[in-house]
Symmetry: C2
Subunit: 201 residues, 2 copies
DNA sequence: CAGGAAACATACCTTTAGGTCGGTATTTAC
DNA sequence: GTAAATACCGACCTAAAGGTATGTTTCCTG
């Protein structure tokens, strides 16, 4: 039995890497553990040594990888921001990068799968959305406090609106053919953000 | 061999009925043709007599059922409307009905599955989104012509924005626990719609 | 009312799914 | 340095997947 050097942490990470590719591109139901371990250059023995079953693997991948990816993409950049400009710029940047298989699309795709809705997977995905909404709401609140954003704005509601919109864009413009539509969404999004502004009297 | 009376059209419709339940609740990849025919009280013989394979069944179901459902929910009601109020009222109504397994959620969920992206399924789903966007854009154009909607508004872009938002809401608030978030989205949506209005000078 | 075509049912086939099990190689702990 | 624990491989198991093949029954047509 030829066996490569034992590096449990590396192996674990390699599995999570492969899981990322599979779950992002094929969703949960569409993911085959066979293909997964094959692309990782491993076997099922390694997989089930590190993870008890498919659902748990998915849950751990979401928590350890997807959540932090979303955090890096959408939350950290807003951490100390309080202006509509920073929000707009981030949206512009992320929209230009949007592609099938990226973290934002993967999050939407997994959340859209119904089986995930009411069990542990759904909970984990919900947590990500909550955190995301929280980050946006934080910016809006700081903006209000700084007088940059109109005081009639409800941060939590607007944040929910915005996160839903972004998720919706990844879903409704998945095809590369829809790039034009995606730009249209961004354009309207920018106009919408402007309506949140507190205009100096 | 006990065989019920032959009613090919009824059988076909029964299969499409069952397909609706399966695809809506489990997505494309998550749907099992075995369960499908079982819930329809039929057998695979009947299925594959009427439909050549799974993908084609899905395509036909989308075209014959899902498309018309979306049309009835989101397009026909706007056919001759030209006011933001009618758009807002429709959104209110549909949002209150939103549930996992309904046509709007099913559309988003299927579109979110990547395998559908670039093949025939993707095309068909795209057509639905296009038509939906067209219906909303039509209302906005009529509203502009009637002087109800601000002339700086770009109907196509706003329509894309709105459709993406609705799809996003079904994805990000799938859990019944998220009803509150859904209401928040609706609230912000109504505020957003107001910003499209052409204010009388 | 015969015969052929259409509408199903039943049984089965192949592949692949998620998952298990025993063994072997490697580390770690003493 | 040896024993026990860990990491991993490879073969395998069962169930279920999508799909086929061949029936048998009903219908439609002449």
């Amino acid at each position: 039995m030829i066996q490569r050097k034992k590096q449990p942490q590396l192996t674990r990470q390699a599995i999570l890497d492969a899981a990322g590719g599979e779950f992002s591109h094929s969703g949960y139901a569409g993911t085959s553990l066979g293909r997964l371990v094959a692309t990782a250059g491993l076997t099922k023995g390694a997989l089930f040594h590190h993870f008890p079953d498919k659902r748990t693997l998915a849950k751990i991948w979401i928590e350890e990888r997807l959540a932090s990816a979303i955090e890096a993409l959408w939350m950290t950049p807003l951490e100390h921001a309080d202006s509509l400009e920073s929000l707009r710029n981030l949206c512009r940047l992320r929209f230009s990068e949007l592609a099938t298989g990226d973290a934002t699309s993967a999050l939407s795709a997994l959340a859209a799968e119904d089986p995930a809705a009411e069990d542990l997977l759904g909970r984990v995905l919900e947590k990500i959305f909550d955190a995301w909404r929280g980050a946006v709401a934080g910016l809006l609140e700081r903006g209000k406090a700084a007088g940059r954003i109109h005081r009639s704005i409800q941060p939590a509601a607007e944040a929910a609106f915005l996160v839903a919109l972004i998720a919706g864009v990844t879903v409704t413009t998945k095809s590369p053919r829809a790039a034009e539509t995606r730009r249209a969404c961004l354009s309207s999004l920018e106009d919408y953000l402007e309506t949140l502004r507190n205009l100096p009297t």
